[in-house]
Amino acid sequence: MKKIEVNKIPYIEEMDGIHETFTEKHAKKDIKTLIEREASQNKIVASLEEAITKCGLKDGMTISFHHHFRNGDFVINMVMDVIAKMGFKNLTLAASSLIDIHKPLIKHIKNGVIHRIETSGIRGELAEEISRGLMEVPVVFRSHGGRAYAIENGQLKVDIAFLGAPSCDPFGNANGYSRDNDKGVICGSMGYAKLDAQYAGKVIIVTDNIVPFPNIPFGIPQSDVDYIVEVDAIGDPNGIMSGATRYTKNPKELLIAETAADVIEASGRFKEGFSIQMGTGGASLATARFLREKMIAKDIKASFALGGITGQIVELHKEGLIKKILDVQSFDLDAAHSLKDNRFHQQISASYYASPNNEGTAVNQLDIVVLSALEVDIDFNVNVLTGSDGVIRGAIGGHCDTAAGASVSIIVCPLIRGRIATIVDHVNTIVTPGKTVDIVVTDQGVAVHPKRKDLQDLLTKAGIKVRTIQELRDNAKRIVGDAASIKYTDKVVGVVTYRDGSVIDLIYQVDESEEE
C-alpha cells in the first residue's frame, strides 16, 4: 500500500473526523453465516431486567410506550412491574395513551415509581382515581400531533422507549404484523411507536414473535432499535382488536350519519380527488356508508383517507373509491390485514400524521374530517376528555389536530345521551377550540360556526336547514332539564395542552365531599 500522510492532505483541518491512516486492523471480517449471526450476534437480551440495566435506566428518567394494543396491552403493566421490582423511582411515564387495562399503574403511582404522566388520554379506574386526586403532579394531556411535536423539538425527551411489537427480527426490524407467520398477535400500524423509536435515547422492542431477518415491511427499522426482549405474550388479541368494527344499528346514529353525508356533499369539498378522515364513533363510521352511495352515484373518488383506519375505509379502498390510505393506527383486523396486503395502504408515524411542525403533515391535506364529541358548547369548543360528571374518561387523540388541519371539520353527536345534553353552555374541558370547528351535526339539526358564512350558504343552498348552536342547546335543555353544575376542588389534576404545547384548559379534582 502507498504511504499516506493524513496531515499533508490539503484543507485537512476542514474535514471533520478524518485523522487516521488505514491499517489492516481497521478492516474486520466475519465469516459466520446469516443463520449463525441471527443466533449469536443479535440484539436479543435474556430479560427485561437485563435490557433495562443495559439501557441505563435511572431514577427520574422518562420512559415511553405506545397504545396500539389498546385494551389488550400487556406491555406497560409488565414493564412497570419489572421496573418497580428493580427499585426505580420518580419516573415520568409518557404513553401515547392509557386505557382500562392499565389500572395496575395506580399502585406504581402510590409507591412512587411513577412521578408524573404524559398521555393523550386515560380511561377506566386509573382515570377515575386521577380525577379524585391520586397524583401530586398533574397529568399532561397532549394530542397525537402535539406529542409528536413535543418529542421532535425536545420538549418531551424520552430516555427509554419500551415498544411492544407483534413481530421483530433478531436485529430489531419490527412491525404490527408479520408476513412470515401467523403466530403473533396483530395490531396493524405502529404509527405512534415509530416516532418514539426514532427519537428515544434507547429503544427496547418487546415481542412474542421473533421472525427471520429481514422482517419486511417494517414499521420500525433496526437502526432505531437497541435491544429486543422476547416474552410469552405481549397482548390479548381480543382486547387489541376485533374482527371488524360493526356498523351501528342505532337509528339516531344512522340519522346523524345520513345528515353528515348530506352535509359533506353540500360542503363544496365533495369533488374528484377529495380527502377525508372519519373518526371511529358509531355515527362517524356510518357516515362512510352513506358517503359511499353518493360517491358511486356521482362517480367521485377520494384521493386518500387518513387516520385511525377501520374496515369501512378498507372496503371503500378495495372498491376503488378511495385511492390511498394513510394509517397511523389500525382499529380492526380488516384494517390491519389491509395494511399487510394492500400496496397503497401506508403506515405513517404520528409526526407524519399530525405534527404541527411540518407543512406537509397529513392532517393539513384533509378536505373533510368527521369527528365525535362528548360535549360541544355554544362557542363550538369541543370536549372529548372529561365526562359530564367532570371525571377523565377519554382521549384527545387527533381531535384538535384534524379539526385545525381540515378544510371543513364536522362534529357528529346526538343532541342528548340519556339524560346528558351534548350541546351545552360551556364544555367541562376544552380540547378543540371552537375557532377550528366548522359544522355540528346532531339528530335534531345542523349548526354552522358563524364565521363560516361560506359553509352556511352552501348548506342552505343545498336545502339543509341550518340552525343556530343556541337553538340546539335550548332544545337539549328542554328535554333533559337543568343539570346541576359539577363541583371541583382547587387541585389541578390535568393540564390540557393544544397541539403547539400551549395550555388550553385545566382539569380539577372532582369534589365528592358534598354527599347528602
Partner: protein, 97 residues
C-alpha cells in the same frame, strides 16, 4: 294507597329507571336513589319520585330507584306503575294532576 307487596317497574337499560316499591317499617316515603347522573340530576330525580308518590297518596313505603339517565316523563311513568303494582290497585289515574 297502601303497599301490600313489592312492586317493580322499569329496567336497567340506558335511559330507563328501575323502581322498586316495598313495605317500610318507617313512616313516610323513604327514597334510595342510585343514578348514573346523580351529580347532575340527583335532586331533580328524587323530587319527581316524591311528587309522583304524593300524587297517588302512597303511604309509608320504601322506594328504591336505580336510574340510568331516564327523563322525567319516564321516571313518573315507572314510579306510578310500580306503586299500582305494589298496592295491587287497578284504579289507574294515568296523567291526572
Amino acid at each position: 294507597m297502601k303497599v301490600v307487596k313489592t312492586g317493580v317497574a322499569g329496567t336497567m337499560e340506558s335511559s330507563d329507571i328501575m323502581i322498586t316499591v316495598c313495605k317500610s317499617d318507617k313512616n313516610g316515603i323513604d327514597i334510595k336513589l342510585e343514578s348514573s347522573v346523580e351529580k347532575q340530576f340527583g335532586k331533580q330525580i328524587k323530587a319527581v319520585i316524591e311528587a309522583s308518590a304524593n300524587r297517588l297518596q302512597l303511604k309509608d313505603a320504601k322506594i328504591i330507584a336505580i336510574d340510568k339517565g331516564a327523563l322525567d316523563c319516564v321516571i313518573k311513568a315507572r314510579v306510578e306503575t310500580a306503586i299500582y303494582r305494589a298496592c295491587e290497585s287497578t284504579d289507574y289515574r294515568w296523567g291526572e294532576q
